[in-house]
Symmetry: D2
Subunit: 350 residues, 4 copies
């Protein structure tokens, strides 16, 4: 941490900064420049300390962090890239994970049809929400446990592992009985009670990036899950909020490269929520695979026109088939591969 | 809702839009222009319907919402400005509410000293967090129920009503036994389970604006609380995330005027979190009062240098006294008033 | 344009809106709803009219634009995708255009070495700035006409067409004597005097997206050039400003799909300025090609460590060779192709 | 500047960083920590050097700037707050400057009526645009020199100094013959050719903040003008671009406090462009004065409904009178004052 004193800072003020750092067990390095004094505070644990601890002291102008604020998610902590098991796959390995299915579980027929279709196209896992966080209190809020039950039946039929969102820490215990992967949505990325609870579950977790979260904040949120001893964390980039309104969010495709540089965790992309319109989903999906994402989570619905939520961003079965066909050569071009339908018969949870 | 068809849309596609709207009980108005067909979908309930319902249909180019997505928080629904009781005050009335105190409850001594000091300066309520949502899992997370107990004692000593944050829906029942006002933090503005639970409590709620939430989303989140029959909702602007980094967030002072135009709910401002530095707090506080905010919530700490969280943005007692003195003539200039210390002896919860 | 009246709007106010629209030659369609009156203003020319013309009238609540604010850049105006000649290529066609070279022209040796290297790797054009817009007045500002002269010599040696930035409308006449393509930088996207001047030149123009410009504003800026009768406009996405700071800007890869939907103009991507760090350039370049960009403009320098500007985001010759190799299979996967070095001997301006 | 090396950086790489810094005349301070080596590069001139110079070197992870990138605009360079003369006022002093008038000069009648009205209400200067930068090429672009001539006549009649926008560096010579103050608009904040030219003019300049410019970039742009020897620079906050769309831009009221902390230049606020709607202008104006702005620039039009540009954000004469009345007690509350109409008869340029 670099503490820059104001021009008129007194010796006593400078000493106070050094004393506080020393008391916290850090080394310091002082430079009394012609213009300004700068105190460098050193030690690997400085990342865990808020810059405020020094910024608040008299005579301090600014404090700049050198160490990242996250630790367990960092490649400094864990140099090798992590592989996270999901069904028969290792997410983060050569084979990309393709998670597909409806936004919300609406009925058994809907989910079974979707599960069979996405499996046939080569998807590795089925998505579907039983608890839906909706912007408006008047919108469809999900089927709750009935929805989980339908998901479990779709899994039994197809062998596809099931991904579903958890919105309440007190649902975790229930959901892990039905689902293989717990998804933490963007609006809950800093719901710390929830992060700790999914951490304690030991289940694989998909942690979506908050819609206005920096990559540093996202990886620090991952630390909450990892700190509970659960290292099965998959990050998911799903677009950030910007001033541009022609897409629902702005997919930050660069975040894939930044995450790969600083974290060992695998990262997948949700092109559906980023785009907000099915028409743009294939473009974002292709970009994500080319950029090195470890997989995708895509909304696919038997009949988007009748979907109870997010129909506008859902692909039809045909769209999804076509997308998979488009993605295969791109995946190969970057040294990755997608599962084929016939392989899907051999993998899965059953 | 205005549905604009693509240039090449067929009659059948246009008819399908009209049929769907009719089936939902809406009136429609069709204009077959020389360039494009536009279908207007009319009715007061269109605000509750997602634009996606029409955007997903074949031949549709764009769908534009006319009605606001919120209802209960809207002035269309409730023309008179609402007054929300807090201690002896009606928030939203002529007298501004000043809520002050430390970020986190750290000890009984700290809270009692703070409570007495802010009361003496003219504050109407005491703030203090017992459950702290912290970016890093390694940071101080609050004293939990012990903290609530300290708050209750500070209230008993000073008569100041107590405001505290709730981060877990399952804490609501506990917290209402100790505190007068439940605060929903910015990171939980779309934690819908939590919103419903504080709605059911019937307690006064301060709903902070999410750090990247539009005003529409904020008011729609308020609808979640109001929909439970709890009309004691106070909105709180606390700065939004932008590209500017010289302050922690960017106080959106304009939001006060926008909220007053479209909603009946009172709105206060948190200059401490917006600024992120005590040095800028008075500027933002003055701007907020001049802009017509119904009150402020300000971080004040006996010794900011030793604060366990947010010391950097906390005022000392002297700073707070001085701020109150600065605000009095500004409040008068806009037809409002602040409580004085002597008045404080007569109001309160005891 | 859809004019929504306030709840209490009078008949006279509504009539006034209709009269004004009629006076401007538009048709109107009125709906006197139970809640609110809505006036639809219709006609293909409404895109050229500011919404303010109606928003300012008494009794009006909001005005929503239906037609896009741009016209000449729109696919409604020109359904077929445009091909823009650059050297021997048609930008927007099957073959991607690869423009590469240093940020700034520093010396003849530097430019000749760069030109030969990028040509050998398969680039179709050479970039280099003679007039540099720099954030600080104390930074290197470019070699001016000496730089243009060096560019012309590099072109003579290699046959590569030359792309250079124009920052002052009064330089256009000079620059077109040396360069093949005029680049308008992000900070000048709304420098209308400059847009008109490059429009009048008839030269091919690369129009970079402003760093906080919406796609609508970008296409409207293109209208300034097109309105002068110059249809040789290539758009260039180069990242937008967001709250994320781990990359210099956030590449809006979605904009490629949006531009392709609404405009006939070709769109290329500048991964160097978006990333701000050479390490992330290949990721963004791959994503851009997979997303359907019509080409790239990439910073390549003989010795990035010694570059007078933007060294941090420049590729070495080896990096660029490797990038071209990585891009070839991705281009093929999306039905496009890159030039090879041997082909380059046959094309070009000489 | 703080250079953080990567974990595996070699001694040779570290030495190379030190050598480069030394060669540039800087002192260095090295800390070989247990985790990472950090090189501090020291000297007051480091603010003028791009961080890229070091970031590009092998083995470097990140480079963090300590010195501000601007110099002449900095309070470190010039501790006393500057006063900038405008008409008979010193902008930055106790008396606030109120600049008011139409967006665009439309006719002599319009300007004379506006000039008399705003003078009568207590304004100190008249605004009006003769060259208008418009988003669309099809919109009204201003009366050019005829407009300047009208401005000069309005000045002759009323004695009010005249503020007008300059959009082309080659217009400066012409405009200074008619106007007292040159305004550089937000879209031209980084039009460096223009900045230099207004710098050379020696005329008072109002430099608007770019709509997505950080405060650092804004002050660095001011350095371009100051570096030409022109110290008559007034900054103008006019709102920044964010995700919020209920106002045209988001007024960054905090920037007033940040500018006052780091720069000696006066700063005024344009509530009209920030709000984008006349209804919100008074709120923003009051907030700006309470926050410590040195003045305001407000759009006022004899008949906003008929304005050729920006009518929606223009106040009527009555609105402006009322605003002035509202602002007087707020100004007094913060130790400032507004001119009265009768005082206006004694000041001015004639």
């Amino acid at each position: 941490m670099i503490v820059q004193m104001t021009s008129g800072a007194t010796t006593q003020q400078i000493d106070h900064v050094v004393e506080r750092a020393t008391a916290m067990g850090f080394d310091t390095l002082l430079n009394v420049g012609t213009d300004k004094t700068v105190v460098a505070i050193l030690g690997s644990r400085t990342g865990e300390v808020s810059t405020d601890v020094f910024a608040v002291l008299a005579g301090v102008d600014t404090v700049t962090r050198i160490m990242k604020p996250y630790k367990l998610a960092s490649r400094e902590f864990h140099k090798e890239l992590s592989l996270v098991p999901l069904g028969g796959l290792d997410v983060g390995g050569e084979r990309l994970v393709m998670i597909a299915g409806p936004c919300a579980v609406e009925s058994e027929t809907q989910m079974l049809r979707a599960a069979e279709a996405v499996k046939a196209a080569g998807a590795n896992a089925l998505r579907g929400g039983a608890y839906k966080p909706r912007t408006s209190p008047f919108a469809f809020q999900g089927l709750a446990e009935d929805g989980l039950d339908i998901l479990a039946r779709a899994r039994a039929e197809t062998g596809l592992p099931v991904v579903t969102e958890v919105v309440d820490p007190h649902h975790v215990e229930q959901i892990v009985r039905y689902a293989d992967v717990l998804q933490v949505g963007a609006r809950n990325m800093q719901n710390y009670t929830l992060l700790r609870e999914v951490g304690r579950s030991g289940h694989t977790v998909i942690l979506k990036r908050g819609l206005s979260s920096t990559i540093n904040e996202w990886l620090t949120a991952a630390d909450y899950i990892l700190a509970e001893g659960n290292d099965r964390v998959i990050l998911c980039e799903r677009g950030i909020r910007t001033f541009e309104t022609s897409t629902r969010f702005t997919l930050d495709v660069s975040s894939i490269a930044v995450v790969k540089r600083y974290s060992h965790l695998p990262v997948i992309v949700d092109p559906s929520h980023a785009a907000g319109h099915f028409r743009y989903v294939p473009t974002l999906a292709r970009a994500a695979v080319a950029a090195g994402a470890d997989g995708l989570i895509v909304e696919v619905h038997p009949n988007p026109e009748e979907a109870l939520s997010d129909g506008i961003q859902s692909l039809t079965f045909e769209n999804f088939d076509q997308l998979m066909a488009e993605l295969r050569p791109i995946a190969r071009a970057v040294g990755r591969e997608l599962s084929s339908a016939s392989e899907q018969d051999k993998v899965g949870v059953v």
